[in-house]
Amino acid sequence: MNSHQAPLRPVAWTIAAFIIAALPHLAAMPAWLAAGIVAACGWRLAAAWRHWSPPPAILRLALTGLAITLIVLAFGGLWGRRTATALLCVMLAAKMMEMFTLRDLRLVASVSFFLIATQFLFSERLLYLGYLAVGSLVATIALVRIQNVEAGETDSAAPGAEVQAIGSAATLLLMSVPVALTLFFLFPRLAQPLWGLPDQVMDGRSGLSDDMSPGSISNLFLDDSPAFRVEFDGPPPPVDQRYWRGPVLWDFDGTTWTRPFFSDTPSRQFVPEGDASLTYTVQLEPHERRWLFTLDYPVRGPEQALITVDHQLLSRHPVTALTRYELVSNPEFIDMPDLPEGARAAALRLPEGRNPRSLALAEELRARHPDHRDLIAAVLSWFRTEEYFYTLSASPLGRHGADEFLFDLRAGYCEYYASAFAILMRAAGIPTRVVTGYQGGLWQAGSDYLLVRQSDAHAWTEVWLEGSGWTRVDPTAAVSPDRIEQGARSVIDGPRHRLDLDWLQTLRNRYDRLQHMWNRWVLGFDHDRQRQFLQKLGLPDLSTERIAALMLLVLTLVTGLVSLFLLRRARPRSTGAVDRAWHAMLRRLQRRGLRKRLEETPLEFAARVEAALPAHGGAFRRLAATYCRIHYGDQAEHEADFIDQAKGFTPRRA
């Protein structure tokens, strides 16, 4: 590696590789930072074109320092994946300012692969396969072009050079697919992560949060991306039973509902399997929280997961990759027939001095309906009959949120209703908790899974009733039955409707089906799946060492095959059909043991063939003479005849 001043074309390819790899990262960055990085690339390109010299080290250092400071300010620290990737991008952009040697170019081109890989920590959707393909192709082309320059290529402006570089990079990449697939399927997967991830690293992404203050789910409703998919062993439950339990919130501080201190306590209750038990498999998109969604009530979850006292299923580590888990739920289970005192207190606690009007209403209701069930029915029918609307464009709420909502606004979405309802209930002396999660889901026609999107996020309540324990009450259902029966989409109003054309919907569903397969076979391929995969191949119960050995074996085989292809003797490159026909004939003769030596002329070779294969020599000699006339002469009239005859020439051993 020497210090050539890198010429324009490799620089341009390297920058292209970097930009493509960084594209999703740039999109997720603050706009000013992305603009700064793109500007650095633009400057570098111009510098290569105009032969500018690198900026002074002081300036580079100052700019880099400034960018890092701004990142710290913008992301609130240097800890977190977005921050880390933004930092990497900035470092590379800074490197770009000084990448004036081939070595620097190589560094940037190869770190592009790393940048591509880091993007998959954020999303592994099918779409990104294209990103992977294009990104690695361009990075490989950049590496090829850099090598060309190092190998002393002088006419980098030669028109064929780019095409040739693209061709060899594509071959290189295509030939790496067999090796990559072998490794992918046979590289022993970890049953457990090697190291846990600090929670701070998770810097939040779309998905359910662990608290609820009316307003926070709303952006989820517009997110059509899948949250999880469910396959059932048997028929799926009816629509009004599809409540996917997520975080259970007990504590309310006046604006926000949060999980209580005991929410990680494992359940002491044993949920038995019942007649109505459902068995199903959830394929959960990574959402970087620990909760796994279940139908009420999970009987048993996967290993490595725990069922809490309020029947949440919690994974030990944040879900950072597509996860599959199998579940059994018993919907008929009665949760807490007897409510312990502590729990009752927690389920009745309300902050002081908030929502006076609601509290007054609750007092009034309590007086009018001594029976809890009657009271609940009265409130729900009140919601139904009075002018309450379900809308996603709800206003934020002030200090007395429930009051504002119940008496003034009268319009909101599930969180508003769940929160207000829970406040009313607690004020009326009924133990209540809020459950967030998803509701509904699209049963894909023709495929056998339920698709739950982020837009299906929902919040509802559970009240404790004597005799039936914790009972689900969904106030939103009283206001907007459509929301429950037809899904969140039916209540989204505004311009989105125009986009939801039927065919578009169909296309989207098709794509999701593809995505489902992708998730199932590629992304969900983990330790367990690998075992299953090998079992299907008839290799049951291999230890990790054995799998590794198998991998090496198959890898050797595959590499051998690839090398057979790559190291095959190259045929002399010929342009015309005549030359192709001629060389094809030579190959056929070679198979008969007659190889034209390089220094042999066609006619000399023909004489040798005639001596070795008297039966065919005459025909070959005539063909060779015709070939000479075409190849060395100035006449082209025999071409078609020659090609036909040459194709018909099949020498056999005498």
Partner: protein
């Protein structure tokens, strides 16, 4: 060559027929040496000169004589000896007493075909007089320049073994000859024919001129117009380049030599009744055209003929 591309001679058909007859006549006398005869005619039709190096008695002189007879025009035979002077070749200016003037008496060099026998017996000065005449196509004696006739073709012979009292042509002069070749011993079959058939010398007398100077010039023009395809040019270029980059040689072939190679390959193609140049022509010519223009480095211990053979052996035919 057992096979030849279709002899569809469209250009200069009667010239080609004459050439054919001339070749046949010479081949009738010089048995089984078609290759050498082809080379000789190639040198002639490329407008160059021929040096034949071989032992006495293998037919050098017979070949040269047969050629000169068949070609028609004027021909001269010069047997070189060590007391020969340049004037014996070129001619002399004679002072004529009657009109007080110098009169030029042309030497044997003033002929269409010169057979310079045992050229290495002459002193270097005499040799170079002939060689300069060959190169320039004219003779300058006593300040007066006399043009040589056209065509002008020198066949020189040299005995490589009998070196006593001889002056082998200096390396720097050898490239005055377009081709250098040898005849070699006759094959058993040919030898038998030589023994059985009538004396070659007598057969020589039966030869009739088949060509004349005009036709030879026409044939030279015909040869110069033959098609040489790109692959053949590539081949020539690669060969010449290989001599330039060969580690065992002092210097490679000059561009002039490359041009001579193309010219001779064309003539060889014409002699072989082809309509265009084949790599075979180049391959046949190169070992006779290159070695005497190349000087191996003394310490490399190589012979330039071996180097040339090696180069051909390693050059792919495009």
């Amino acid at each position: 060559m057992s096979s030849r591309p279709d002899p569809a001679h469209t250009v200069g058909a009667d010239l080609r027929a004459d050439l054919e007859r001339a070749l046949a006549s010479v081949n009738a006398v010089i048995v089984d040496k078609a290759e050498v005869v082809e080379l000789a005619f190639s040198a002639l039709l490329a407008g160059g000169h021929l040096l034949i190096e071989d032992l006495p008695g293998v037919g050098k002189t017979t070949l040269a004589q047969a050629l000169s007879l068949v070609l028609g025009g004027s021909w001269q035979r010069v047997q070189f000896t060590n007391d020969m002077l340049p004037a014996d070749i070129l001619g002399v200016s004679i002072f004529r007493r009657q009109d007080e003037q110098f009169e030029f008496r042309p030497g044997p060099v003033f002929a269409n075909v010169i057979l310079a026998d045992e050229i290495n017996r002459a002193s270097p000065r005499t040799q170079s007089a002939l060689l300069e005449a060959m190169a320039e196509g004219q003779v300058t004696v006593d300040g007066q320049t006399h043009s040589l006739p056209q065509p002008f073709f020198v066949i020189a012979t040299q005995n490589p073994l009998d070196l006593a009292g001889t002056y082998p042509l200096p390396d720097s002069q050898l490239d005055r000859f377009l081709l250098r070749t040898s005849i070699g011993y006759p094959s058993a079959l040919e030898e038998r024919r030589l023994l059985v058939e009538p004396d070659r010398r007598r057969m020589l007398q039966t030869l009739q001129p088949e060509l004349d100077e005009h036709r030879v010039i026409g044939l030279i023009e015909l040869a110069a117009g033959l098609h040489v395809a790109e692959p053949v040019l590539d081949y020539i270029q690669t060969l010449v380049q290989a001599t330039r980059s060969h580690a065992g040689l002092r210097a490679g072939l000059s561009p002039r030599a490359a041009l001579a190679l193309i010219r001779t390959a064309r003539a060889h193609a014409l002699v072989r009744r082809q309509d265009f140049c084949l790599p075979e022509n180049v391959k046949q010519i190169f070992p006779h055209l290159a070695p005497h223009r190349l000087q191996p480095l003394p310490e490399s211990g190589l012979d330039s003929r071996a180097v040339v053979a090696e180069i051909i052996e390693h050059t792919p035919v495009p």
